[in-house]
Symmetry: C2
Subunit: 344 residues, 2 copies
């Protein structure tokens, strides 16, 4: 049974950072990201190592923005889409921060924030945790589908794995701020509630339609949340999903409307926000661990900080499958953990 | 900086269950496992699906032993070695329990117990969490090395991926016990302390010598623990490592001895305990997520329950690599999260 865990104002989100590749920089949010590399290589020799470097650069940027050192972070939560999450472990090993590896497919961004918040709320001996997630188009495409050099045709429901990483520092609210914190933070962003997602398997087995596979899990999480909380969709400035894309987003809104929950006015999907569909040939939109993480870090967190928006639900959506599971005829289950952020 | 997190007596380990395959059943601990399948297939058509079934069966057994239903578990933490951790997500989706996917390679068993304990300590709205990890010899060998049908020669330092799963239920100590709990639990097992591990990369790149790759991470965790705690190795009945095997275990003991920490009298490695080296051709011993989980569940937890042993450190060890990272010349980093269990 899903439970909403109320964290009060005990955990705040201190800082966020993002880095992206070529295609993402040329999208509508391009200027908002902290760093980009037009070659998508980030100085590394292979696409897999490039993603590790993307992780390393993003965490470095995050620490710099927060005015903190690696030793100021008690635990680092991280995950990506590469087999055995090796982008995270290779890219982040040099920091020497105690490490918890996560795998929630593209939902890992919300999963990391959820876990970091729960850990900070659990013990006063932890002051700050960080969470980082990434994806890389060229590493993901050749692992999950075909190498990009192959030039395979993509179906209209296919999504474009974003080359992106997003990282966050959370801290216990009773932690004394550094001088820099006090100056830069006009408002506090709190992780007010978290809710883990259930694995929802609706029998979708088309690996080129992840949106359809993940939408039922997002619908399940939203339905559970509004049943258990005393709020309604209109209480939130945005109800954000990770990477359902155009196709999955429509399915989600229809599924919810059929049970009397209308999120049409305030639903945003990071996978739709990432690219300009007129200029960029990305079919149903962006996907990947780094998509939701980088859009949250670059677009929503700064707006929460400024007080332009005050209350959001963020739900990253993950498709739980592997190339083997698809080849063996398995269906693609979805999952969608949720966090509730406020700006006060 | 690694921190020991003191959980007092707020989280107890309620029940444990294990299931194994052919080779493990014929090892010295064979009779202690709750279930075995001599075909290693667990009723499924492919090795990958077999591991999912192994997970499903083990979690079912665990719930039965504890007299609980899936709805009594608030969050399930799970992970395995298959790409995208698909054994866990496929095998466990039918339970409908809110799910947090983990990836810590073979360290996932301790990572899951650590996370479940931290979550339970974090919020009174959670009563019980479960943690499960698995590995399957035939699924792992063909994913990481070669299919077993190929009959490749193995080096003396190579380990045998165990076909095994171990699962645990933890609960907040202020949760009222069911009738069955009160009867079966003569003593309480508490998760007294937890400590996340750092990623330690010592430059080992031989995928047939995981023990050497993981031993420095285990040494780092043990050194940190004894530096920060006021205890010494002799305070513990056992200091248990996950799956260093013969080779890695020796390296660990030597590394620690060189800095004045002597664990030779009370060190046990689950990878060494799993098989009979005289009868079974397993080279350096067992490895895999399921190795440490099933040995903890079947051998150590029952002894803690009976009070035969009272104080143990359990550290599962993970090798953070993928076939791609090895092929691209990457080294294998290790990680070793720790939990401290007492029986009172």
């Amino acid at each position: 049974m899903q439970k909403i865990i109320d964290l009060g104002k005990r955990v705040r989100l201190l800082e966020a950072a993002s880095a992206v590749g070529h295609e993402e920089f040329f999208g509508p949010l391009g200027d908002l990201f902290d760093y980009h590399d037009e070659s998508d290589k980030f100085g590394a020799k292979t696409w897999e190592l490039s993603e590790g470097e993307l992780d390393r650069i993003t965490l470095n940027l995050l620490l710099k923005k927060a005015g903190l050192k690696p030793c100021d972070i008690d635990i680092l939560f991280a995950g990506d889409l590469q087999n055995q999450c090796v982008a995270s472990s290779q890219g982040l090993s040099s920091f020497g921060i105690p490490y918890i590896g996560l795998y929630g497919a593209c939902s890992t961004s919300a999963e990391g924030l959820l876990c970091a918040s729960m850990f900070l709320n659990s013990s006063k001996s932890l002051k700050r945790c960080a969470s980082i997630t990434s994806s890389h188009n060229c590493a993901a495409e050749r692992q999950f589908r075909t190498p990009i050099e192959y030039g395979g045709q993509r179906t209209p429901t296919a999504q474009w794995t974003a080359t992106a990483a997003g990282a966050f520092i959370l801290e216990r609210s009773d932690t004394e701020g550094t001088e820099k914190d006090t100056k830069s933070l006009k408002r506090n962003i709190y992780v007010r509630e978290v809710m883990a997602g259930k694995i929802v398997d609706s029998g979708v087995s088309d690996a080129a339609n992840m949106g359809a596979a993940m939408a039922p899990a997002a619908a399940d999480t939203i339905e559970s949340y509004f049943k258990k909380s005393e709020s309604s969709p209109s209480d939130f400035d945005f109800i954000i999903t990770g990477d359902l894309g155009k196709e999955g987003g429509e399915i989600l809104r229809e599924l919810l409307l059929s049970i009397g929950i209308d999120i049409r006015k305030n639903h945003s999907d990071c996978g739709v926000m990432m690219y300009d569909f007129k200029r960029q040939d990305v079919h149903s939109g962006a996907s990947g661990c780094g998509c939701s993480a980088s859009v949250l870090a670059s677009y929503f967190i700064p707006r929460l900080k400024k007080g332009e928006i005050k209350n959001i639900l963020f739900m990253a959506t993950g498709a739980l499958m592997s190339p083997s599971s698809i080849q063996q005829g398995g269906s693609i289950a979805g999952i969608a953990p949720l966090i509730h952020l406020t700006s006060e």
